[in-house]
């Protein structure tokens, strides 16, 4: 116990002697959350729409106003003289072009038929899909309003109510997942680097010459990093609330408990990495690539796991972030409790046990 304390104390010494690294470790997750939280915006707004009005009637002008009344569309920044939709798209002056043909007003009053032509830039499929559906919605409402008052519509409507993230804000969806990613990366990175450093300096060998058990070295060295990872997580969560207004409706205690399990799993990954490398630099690179990339791809952070090929779905089961992303979103946004998250929680605990067992084994065989 005393040895453990001394090893932990020495690690704290190392950390405090290197304030620059500590600052980076503390600030990086906050900064990254800030950047990613804004950058990964899946809400599509301000689609640049160019309306070419050949009809020039009051009806066509009203439709034009309707379209730009919403936050979804904005007008091109400069007036476009070009009348050919293809050229406009090619020049990148707009994402979509709506052509209102002559006779539009007349067609509305049932005298003739005309077709509105909508040309969309499909090179960004998300924007294209959004543009099409928004325009459909606006047109449908516009046409209903144009009907004579005596015409009655079927009395059935859908009234949607969206729970947990009523404004469908991407940041509410993205930021909790970011906590999961950075926690994983920071924990694995710090662990693998601190262990690789002892190897590099030869102090690991000197330490093993003393009657210290490998497990004492591991636990003593890693304890301070559990604390750092925890503080990191709290910082990012506070930040999420203050800057992005992400709600926290669930149990803090449950999140902290499962967070600890998750952190220990990440430390296990760090130990494994350190056992494979000789230098801090390689450890750092390996830790960053093996934690961040698979987690972004396979955790359900952005891409839904159930839409993946079976092989990738199976692979995602060994990605700790997969479970923690669901857990943290569930707890923060939905207030999900232990009963709902049991499957994820137990899976994570099992994964932690496996990871720690492999890591401890690997560590003690490597040092011998």
């Amino acid at each position: 116990m005393r040895r453990l304390r001394f090893i932990a104390q020495k690690e704290v010494h190392h950390i405090l002697r290197d304030p620059r690294s500590l600052t980076i470790v503390m600030l990086m997750p906050v900064l990254m959350t800030f950047l990613y939280g804004y950058a990964i915006n899946m809400d599509i707004e301000n689609i640049v729409l160019s309306v070419i009005d050949h009809d020039r009637s009051s009806e066509s002008r009203r439709l034009d106003e309707r379209l730009f009344h919403s936050k979804y569309f904005s007008r091109p920044s400069v007036a476009i003289d070009e009348r050919d939709p293809q050229r406009i798209l090619k020049a990148g002056q707009a994402h979509a072009v709506l052509v209102i043909p002559p006779g539009f007003a007349a067609a509305l009053h049932g005298q003739e038929t005309v077709a509105l032509s909508l040309t969309i830039d499909g090179s960004d499929n998300n924007v294209a899909a959004a543009a099409q559906s928004y325009i459909d919605q606006v047109l449908a409402r516009y046409f209903i309003d144009q009907l004579p008052p005596k015409v009655s519509l079927p009395g059935v409507t859908v009234s949607p109510r969206i729970l947990y993230n009523p404004d469908l804000k991407s940041s509410h969806f993205v930021v909790p997942a970011l906590v999961a990613l950075f926690l994983l990366m920071v924990s694995a990175l710090l662990t693998s680097v601190t262990l690789a450093r002892e190897k590099e300096t030869g102090t690991m060998e000197q330490l093993l010459m003393a009657p210290v058990k490998p497990i004492e070295i591991l636990v003593g060295k890693l304890l301070p990093y559990v604390v750092i990872a925890f503080i990191d997580a709290l910082l990012v969560l506070a930040f999420a609330k203050i800057v992005f207004g992400v709600p926290f409706v669930g149990s803090r205690l449950l999140l902290l408990g499962l967070g600890l399990v998750y952190i220990v799993t990440s430390l296990g990954i760090g130990i494994l990495i350190s056992s494979l490398v000789r230098t801090q630099q390689v450890a750092m690179m390996l830790a960053a690539t093996t934690t961040l990339m698979p987690s972004v791809m396979l955790s359900g952070f952005i891409f839904a796991i159930k839409n993946m090929p079976t092989a990738l779905q199976l692979l995602s089961r060994i990605i700790p972030a997969r479970y923690f992303v669901t857990i943290i979103r569930g707890i923060m946004l939905k207030g999900a409790g232990a009963e709902v998250l049991a499957v994820q929680g137990i899976s994570l605990i099992v994964l932690m046990a496996i990871m720690v067992a492999i890591a401890a084994r690997q560590f003690s065989t490597r040092v011998n």
């Binding site: 005393r2 010494h13 002697r17 010459m209 009657p211």
Partner: protein, 247 residues
């Protein structure tokens, strides 16, 4: 304490097909200064690692300080000091902090560490740099600190793996004076080196080649037996003739 500090019999360690250490037998008496020589890759470090309880033998075995190296490595560790060619102190800690940390790793009480540090600082002239971060110290001073770390728990046997590599001659001389004082205090010294003048300071030496001990005895006797001009000459002609027979 037994009269024999190190006893090994047919000690072997294989890495796959490669026999790093091949049936080595050796006895070192208490208080002896033993030089463990050999070319790079001859198996010296592997042997020392086994003697220190860091590596399990493939076959054969032995005892260090009276404890079996295969079954009681933890006891062995408590009774030996180890210092390697590699700078094995924490560069971002001061000398004093390093010593306190390693002392705690050996389970020594804080007051004991403080007392012994006082004695060691005196003996090894550490005072002028003990409170500086070790990263900024010249190699010779670092080596003295590393020696202090190795001596802190008052081991019966000191294993030194090329302790003076890269150190200037004045420091080397001072270092060996300290080793002599330790030997007088009945501490066994087991040292590897590439400096033949250092080897001549040893009571007995062994020369290792391809995992086997090929020569063992007092430096003077070995030189005479091989009819060489000096120990360096003896060492080189021995290794060359071995390589000639292998080829």
């Amino acid at each position: 304490m037994k009269e024999h500090a190190v006893v090994i019999e047919n000690l072997s360690r294989h890495f796959g097909q490669f026999k790093a250490v091949d049936r080595v037998s050796l006895t070192v008496s208490r208080g002896e200064t033993f030089g463990f020589l050999g070319a790079n890759g001859a198996g010296k470090t592997t042997t020392i690692r086994m003697l220190c309880g860091l590596l399990m033998p493939t076959s054969g075995g032995g005892s260090v300080a009276g404890f079996d190296i295969a079954t009681r490595p933890e006891e062995v560790k408590k009774h030996i000091g180890y210092m390697s060619q590699k700078f094995s102190l924490y560069p971002d800690l001061t000398g004093r902090e390093n010593i306190h940390f390693y002392g705690a790793a050996y389970g020594l009480a804080r007051t004991v560490i403080r007392q012994r540090l006082e004695t060691l600082a005196e003996r090894l002239s550490l005072h002028e740099f003990i409170d500086r971060r070790t990263a900024s110290l010249p190699v010779g001073w670092r080596q003295r600190l590393a020696l202090a770390v190795a001596l802190l728990h008052e081991p019966a046997i000191l294993f030194l793996d090329e302790p003076t590599a890269g150190v200037d001659p004045v420091f080397r001389r001072r270092f060996w004076e300290i080793l002599y004082e330790l030997a007088e205090a009945k501490i066994t010294i087991f040292v590897t080196t590439h400096y033949m003048d250092e080897a001549e300071y040893c009571g007995r030496i062994s020369i290792m080649h391809q995992g086997r001990i090929v020569e063992l005895g007092r430096p003077f006797d070995i030189v005479r037996r091989l009819d060489a001009a000096g120990l360096e000459d003896a060492f080189i002609s021995l290794i060359r003739s071995r390589e000639a027979t292998n080829a």
